[in-house]
Amino acid sequence: MLKLSRRFLLPYGIWMILFTVVPLGMVAYFAFFDQGQFTTAGITRIFSFMPNLLLSFKLALIATVVSLLLAYPFAYILSRKPERSRITYMMLMMLPMWMSFLLKTYAWMTLLEDTGIINNLLSALHLPTFHMINTEGAVILGMIYDFLPFMIMPLYTVMIKIDRSVIEAAQDLGANSAHILFRVVMPLSLPGIVSGVTMVFVPAVSTFYISQKLGGGKITLIGDIIESQFKQVYNFNFGSAMSLTLMILIFIVMGIMNHFDNEAIEGTLV
């Protein structure tokens, strides 16, 4: 049995080696070698871009927290609905995902501009207009819009498995709604929170497209700098050094998240 499963794993193994391990190795190599010469110039140069790294983490963190706050009640309500309406709501949520997210981000540019669709509509109704395009707010909005479904889905998947009788039992034992939410539902849905947070935070912290379109190329995130090193400046050494740093930081964040996750599982089992 073990032998059989190992054989089935082979194609996946090859895939992983070709498209994950080899590229990662190349990133690590280019981070320390510039045209075959060992150098730490790329790594040391990162420190002068700390503000951009911090800005990326700040915006991604805000987007993640807001996504969680928006997604959590929605996922909970949805999981308590009868099956038929659940399917409808899920479809409605999934529908925008059938479109390229690059396209959707571009559309947000047209929506948010000073002379964009929303502001034109507001001024036609003699309502005050607002300036949002090319600000941090616009970038955060773009992140939330693009990645919200990745928060809802894992939360929903976990919550739908929470047995209704568990909640009923809590009610019978005199727990009020707040108790039920914080002592029963929340601990049981922690694995969903962890994977949702990871799935929103990681793409948000490394994005360059959203900041380029909705930030007007002025909100310069770490992803923008990495992209420009490969696409414009042709400095593979610095680009790779920054990618490697970002990857390590993301691993640390994920490690912390998973630590919470494991604790939660142990907690619920005991």
Binding site: S48, P51, G116, G216, T220, S228, Q232, V233
Partner: protein, 358 residues
């Protein structure tokens, strides 16, 4: 032992898949891979000819048409060897870089009879990007200038200084690519846009950094939407695109600053690793056919180096100063040439810092 075999099989599969990706173009019909700027060939929309389809019909060669957004993006892709193309249409300075780095092959002009229509003034050997004139066939040319919205800018636009004018704070769009951005900053300072002096480049960088707070956005293709809708008052961009925008929004105007600007020539080249050179030559000859060149130039709205196509243009276009400016203005313009690696490195580093808000 088994593990060893797995490793060997994995390697063989890896090698096999690389070969398979590389050679799939050999099967079936003859194929030509063209790598060009976005929106840079007549595609059948707006009553134009679908030039690619016409070529496919005339020759039976299948064209795979791929687009890029900047010279640097194109260069990176070619340099990394991740893809092979038969035809590329880069700009002047990038062509001179690719010639120096031995990335292009000489074109056999015997196979391109329509080359006789290309005007001497725009050929690589005269503009300077292809000193031997052996590697490139001019496709279009144009200038860089300021596009402005007449309803928002009432004063005459005749200098780069207006892009540093606080009156228009938050209403200015600036190039997102370093060479154009530095070029106009250097011109504003009265230097050559091919300057290799570190002091001059640092001075230009200070100017660009100072401008950062006045800029609404750093853009490339996004400029179309933003200027056409009246979102911004001033933008730096290419003359041909300005004509396109002015057609959509009649409030827009185009000015070439008195300090001088960049004249650019985009030319057709064949990269060294092209797989189908005969088809590439056929394609170049086809693009130089005055009727096809006319179709393309009417679609792109840039200026044509093709005398046959120029003659056939409407008088209105021939006399449009945005597309065919006076010789006096042209003589005040400067073309980009390839810069030494130290200068490129310095400019790139400075640009990365400016964009990072440092």
């Amino acid at each position: 032992m088994k593990r060893k075999i797995s490793v060997i099989v994995a390697c063989a599969l890896a090698a096999g898949s690389v070969l398979a990706f590389g050679s799939c173009s050999d099967s079936g019909k003859e194929k030509l891979v063209v790598y060009n700027w976005g929106e840079y060939i007549a595609d059948g929309s707006d009553g134009s000819m679908d030039v690619i389809a016409e070529f496919e019909e005339r020759t039976g060669i299948d064209v795979e048409y791929v687009q890029f957004e900047s010279n640097e993006e194109m260069y990176t892709k070619i340099k990394s060897g991740s893809a092979s193309y038969d035809i590329i249409i880069p700009s002047d300075y990038m062509i001179s870089r690719m010639i120096e780095e031995d990335m292009l092959q000489e074109i056999n002009f015997d196979n391109i009879p329509n080359y006789k229509y290309i005007m001497d003034a725009y050929k690589g050997e005269n503009v300077g990007f292809d000193p031997s004139g052996k590697y490139s066939v001019p496709y279009t040319w144009g200038t860089v200038g300021i596009i402005y919205n007449k309803t928002m800018v009432e004063e005459p636009v005749d200098s780069w200084d207006i892009l540093w004018d606080e009156t228009y704070s938050g209403k200015i769009l600036m190039f997102r690519n370093e060479r154009d951005a530095f070029g106009l900053a250097l011109k504003k300072l009265g230097y050559s846009l091919n300057s290799t002096s570190e002091a001059e480049l640092r001075e230009a960088a200070d100017l660009l950094r100072e401008q950062n707070s006045l800029i609404d956005a750093y853009v490339m293709d996004e400029v179309f939407g933003k200027m056409e809708s009246g979102e911004d008052a001033l933008a730096t961009y290419y003359s041909g695109d300005a004509v396109n925008m002015m057609e959509t929004n009649p409030d827009l105007g185009f000015a070439i600053p008195k300090e001088g600007t960049n004249i650019f020539v985009d030319a057709i080249v064949i990269p060294k690793n092209a797989k189908n050179v005969p088809a590439a030559e056929k394609f170049i000859d086809f693009l130089c056919d005055p009727e096809i060149a006319l179709e393309n130039i009417e679609y792109i709205c840039y200026s044509s180096p093709n005398s046959g196509a120029y003659e056939m243009l409407d008088d209105e276009v021939k006399n449009n100063p945005v597309i065919y400016p006076d010789e006096e203005i042209i003589s005040n313009c400067e073309a980009f040439v390839h810069l030494p690696p130290e200068t490129i490195q310095l400019m790139s580093d400075l640009w990365t810092e400016i964009r990072a808000g440092q």
